[in-house]
């Protein structure tokens, strides 16, 4: 291609994402668009094709991004090149969303015709506006009996301030309105404006690791062109590589001669380490490269930490390998070895959020077949000692003795919740119980309210979201962003089993809630730890002071006193099952403790007193 051809082609390119609150139908719409543009024979269609990891399909969420190139013949007779860039829908992955939006000129905003705008919708819209995207609102699920498109149309105009007069009324599930959406993409989403002759500037918006090709970087070319054999440089890390191949996903990977302005595709360059292709970084030419990187790169910092320990301590090295493999694909995952008196050797791991943590845990258990003990998640506390020095504590058991602490600061988030006004009381009650500071409450229309609180992240990390859902019958939606550290009156609570302190069960709690939480946790543990051969006292202590106590009774009877006839295999199976169950427990001192017990602090509130 010469420059002129590139410019003509550029005119026909439309790059866009779909943004939506979870469950508003993003993945289904993506599938329909793929179908409509014949990207796939229908027999190739698996429900929700863009979500390719099993876990993604099961949980109905997108974790890793995908991009796909589509050809669309519009009503004006011209054929357009679409790049559809999928975005993760969860708040843990906000940064990744913002990077993939940065690769687009437009975004389709999907709003559920029955549920209307939700907290995540807003968060995503703001991200899209930050990136100067043309936003095309569409109202989805209009075939639902409870659909009220006109109300939702007003909401979009009033709450977000978008012109929704041309919002397509669609049902991705029933295939209604898909063509109108595609026509609007042609009409309204601007073509890319870069210069194909300028030095290369390509944004990395995602990457994954392939055993054969090394790192596959997902890129959007902003200026210039890139082809196999080019020498390239990563602007943030300064690392240089030689391009092995470039291509697009359609949706299968297809190698191309070059990628030029507006193209969204992949690039491989025998890169061994995902850390070398950081999301948000800019790729340029090694020689005569661009002087200024694309804006927006930042290093991702974990917000939530927990300990991961293999139940079978012999699997420590397997766990290290598993984490190393996952890290290849997930530069946000951090880990370093740690030791627990109770659990032995393991890793302290940092995650973007709770969902990220659960996903990693599940993948280790599923894909690497390592049974894990996960300690309760912790945030990073900023501890100012009496000698004036500061200490970052990401593991409760490392909290210094109270007398050495001057004060403790903990991270706070701004939490935004939207719900019908009937639930305002329930939401405020919950936020108060979670030590929230009321900031603002605004009516979006006569019935829906937007409530803002500042809440300690540690409270969110516990079961805030679950409780919010259950206290509002699932109507409330929720989003949060980190706003900084504030001092809090925090203490470390230790748990003793059989008079021995179990470091892995320690947690940090606000002083005012400590007695109550201590009581809840010992009762909870009593229910979770099976009866042992001897009586096991459980105590909660702050420093030397016992604040709560409970006792697990000794085992009464565990012997099969039943006539099974000659069916010996059945007896064997039963014994094997009991034995298997034991293997999933960790021997702590002389007590066998099941996996769930270590997470008990997390789910502390579900039988706790409601104030």
């Amino acid at each position: 291609m010469n420059s002129e051809e590139r410019l003509t082609r550029q005119e026909k390119i439309r790059n866009f994402s779909i943004i939506a609150h979870i469950d508003h139908g993003k993945s289904t719409l993506a599938d329909r668009i793929l179908e409509k543009t014949n990207a796939l024979a229908s027999r190739e269609m698996k429900a929700q094709l863009l979500d390719s990891m099993d876990l993604e399909r099961e949980r109905g969420i997108t974790i890793k991004l995908n991009s796909v190139q589509l050809k669309y013949k519009a009503k004006d007779g011209e054929t357009y090149i679409f790049h559809l860039i999928d975005t993760p829908g969860h708040v843990d992955f906000t940064y990744e969303v913002s990077r993939s939006l940065a690769a687009c000129e437009g975004a389709i905003l999907v709003v559920d015709a029955a549920q209307g705008i939700e907290a995540q919708t807003l968060a995503n819209v703001y991200l899209a506006l930050d990136n100067d995207l043309e936003i095309l609102p569409i109202i989805n699920k209009i075939d639902l009996p409870s659909a009220d498109p006109e109300r939702v149309r007003n909401e979009i105009e009033e709450v977000i301030g978008l012109d929704a007069s041309e919002a397509v009324l669609a049902s991705a599930k029933a295939g209604i309105g898909i063509e109108e959406i595609l026509e609007q993409v042609v009409e309204k989403v601007p073509a890319p404006t870069g210069d194909p002759d300028a030095p290369l500037k390509a944004l990395i918006f995602d990457s994954l690791f392939d055993a054969y090709r090394g790192v596959v970087a997902y890129i959007r070319v902003v200026d210039g062109t890139v082809k196999a054999g080019d020498k390239i440089k990563m602007m943030a890390t300064g690392k240089e590589f030689e391009v092995v191949e470039v291509g697009v996903f359609s949706p299968k990977a297809q190698v191309q001669d070059e990628l030029t302005v507006g193209d969204v595709g992949f690039l491989t360059a025998s890169i061994k380490n995902v850390g070398d292709t950081r999301v948000g970084d800019t790729i340029t030419s090694a020689k005569n490269g661009a002087t200024e990187a694309l804006p927006g790169y930042r290093k991702l910092n974990p917000m939530v930490y927990c300990g991961l320990y293999p139940i079978d301590s012999a699997k420590f090295n397997d766990l290290r390998e598993a984490l190393e493999k996952l890290e290849l694909n997930d530069s946000a995952l951090q880990f370093e070895p740690e030791t627990s008196q109770a659990l032995g050797f393991g890793f302290r791991c940092g995650f973007l959020g709770l969902l990220h943590m659960e996903i990693i845990q599940e993948r280790i258990e599923r894909e690497f077949k390592i049974d894990l003990i996960t300690t309760a998640p912790s945030v990073i506390y900023d501890v100012i000692l009496t000698d004036g020095s500061r200490l970052k504590v990401d593991n409760p058991s490392n909290m210094p003795e109270p007398q050495k602490i001057d004060r403790v600061e903990e991270p706070y988030v701004k939490a935004t919740m939207m719900a019908p006004n009937d639930y305002v009381g329930a939401i405020m009650e919950l936020c108060q119980a979670k030590r929230g500071i009321f900031i603002d409450m605004q009516y979006m229309d006569e019935t829906r309210v937007n409530i803002t609180y500042e809440i300690p992240l540690s409270e969110i990390v516990y079961d805030f979201f679950d409780q919010l859902k259950s206290n509002t019958k699932g109507y409330a939606s929720f989003d949060y962003e980190l706003i900084g550290y504030k001092p809090s009156r925090l203490v470390k609570m230790d748990i003793l089993l059989n008079a021995e302190k179990v470091d892995a069960l320690s947690f940090i709690v606000h002083k005012d809630f400590s007695y109550e939480r201590g009581k809840i946790i010992v009762d909870k543990l009593k229910g979770l730890i099976p009866r042992q051969q001897f009586e096991v006292p459980i105590q909660a202590a702050i420093g030397q002071k016992i604040v709560a106590r409970s006792t697990i009774k000794s085992m009464g009877k565990n012997v099969l006193a039943k006539c099974y006839g000659g069916d010996i295999s059945r007896k064997r199976k039963l014994l094997e099952k009991q034995k298997e169950g034991k293997k999933r427990m960790k021997q702590v001192g002389s007590v066998e403790v099941p996996q769930e017990a270590f997470m008990a602090v997390l789910k502390m509130d579900d039988n706790g007193p409601k104030k």
């Binding site: 085992m555 009877k557 565990n558 006539c563 006839g565 010996i568 295999s569 007896k571 009991q578």
Partner: protein, 378 residues
């Protein structure tokens, strides 16, 4: 081969806890089933895989064997005579529901050589009997046992159950007290285990089964053992008690890890080193036999490792425990070496003890048998 189990999978009523292979009697091809059973015995015995001099025990169980009518009983007894080698020394047990055995049925059994009757009494509390789905009444038990004794049966056993829903320790003590007035030789005391696919299981899932709980169950078991001892019944296995010389030889075959035939739908056998399970559904069972095939659903050759494990977890159920000499002779390995760590750990926990060249459960070990048995699975 020393033993044979014969399964009669028909019941007039289904008990709320039962998960054995059984069907409602009404409208079932009982006679055709008996024909298949005869054929299975014939096929098995003519294969001559194993020299069988005569069987030391035969056990007819169910289901409800007493659901058969007189002519069906005759047919059953005849086929056993025709196909299975036994003599007057063979322990020949017939499982019975109280109230189901007429004088005539008893006579048929007695003449065929049956010499032991095991009644499914479960409890003497009328309320509890109803609750667990049994249709007999306490008085049926006295009558049936009298009738059996009058027919000439001398070796009579009853099954009792504890940890029944709503049962209190006092209820159970009363049942035990009544049981000792019966003048019989053998008792089995089983704790209720809630199994899937039973009425009780469904109730439990709905939270509507008032189980007495682990602690009461343990007290009941303790009471059972104490009372049996007081009345001169020796515990020879976790759940079995008898007057000296009246131990169930058939059950001991299982605990001693020896071979036995299993005849009938859903029956289990252990033949020539293979554990086998027959087809459970009547049609499948009968169809296989129609095709001149053994009605075997599963056949598993027990590896040496499994044999040793089973030797331990079955043998330790017996009060006598596992005989180390016997083990040495059978497996040419020293038990104390083989399970050194396990034996050390379990002895420390006071769950097992070594006495007179035997490894035995302690009394505490009897309560926590599964803890011990598991240790020997590798």
């Amino acid at each position: 081969m020393k033993a044979a189990y014969i399964h009669i999978p028909f019941c007039e009523h289904i008990c709320h806890y039962c998960d054995f292979n059984k069907v409602f009697l009404k409208g079932q091809p009982v006679d055709a089933y008996l024909d298949s059973l005869a054929k299975e015995m014939e096929m098995t015995m003519t294969m001559k895989q194993t020299p069988t001099n005569y069987l030391e025990t035969i056990f007819i169980g169910g289901g409800t064997p007493t659901a058969l009518n007189e002519s069906q009983l005759e047919k059953l007894c005849q086929m056993i005579k025709d196909h299975l080698p036994y003599n007057n020394k063979t322990e020949f047990t017939f499982e019975a529901n109280p109230g189901d055995l007429s004088a005539e049925k008893l006579r048929i059994l007695f003449q065929a050589g049956v010499n032991r009757i095991s009644f499914g009494v479960q409890t003497f509390n009328e309320e509890l009997l109803k609750r667990i789905g049994r249709v007999h009444r306490a008085k049926d038990v006295y009558q049936s046992i009298d009738l059996a004794k009058n027919t000439g049966f001398e070796n009579i056993s009853i099954d009792l159950m504890y940890s029944l829903p709503g049962q209190t320790l006092a209820d159970f003590k009363e049942t035990l007290h009544t049981s000792f007035s019966l003048d019989i030789k053998h008792y089995s005391g089983y704790s209720l285990i809630i199994e899937p696919k039973t009425i009780f299981y469904n109730l439990m899932q709905k939270g509507k089964l008032p189980s007495p709980g682990e602690d009461v169950e343990a007290e009941m078991y303790d009471t059972l053992m104490e009372e049996m001892d007081k009345h001169g019944f020796k515990q020879y296995e976790i759940s079995n008690f008898s007057k000296p010389g009246y131990e169930s030889q058939h059950n001991l075959t299982y605990w001693n890890n020896e071979w036995y035939y299993g005849f009938g739908a859903g029956a289990h056998g252990y033949v020539n080193g293979y554990r086998m399970a027959n087809h459970g559904p009547l049609k499948k069972y009968m169809d296989a036999i129609k095709m001149e095939q053994l009605p075997v659903l599963e056949k598993h050759q027990v590896s040496r490792k499994e044999q040793i494990e089973e030797e331990m977890f079955l043998g330790l159920r017996k009060t006598a425990g596992v005989n180390m000499m016997h083990f040495q002779n059978k497996y040419e390995e020293d038990l104390m070496d083989l399970f050194k760590d396990e034996i050390h750990d379990l002895s420390n926990r006071e769950l097992i003890v070594i006495a007179n060249d035997h490894i035995q459960l302690t009394k505490k070990g009897r309560f926590l048998g599964n803890e011990v048995f598991q240790s020997f699975l590798r």
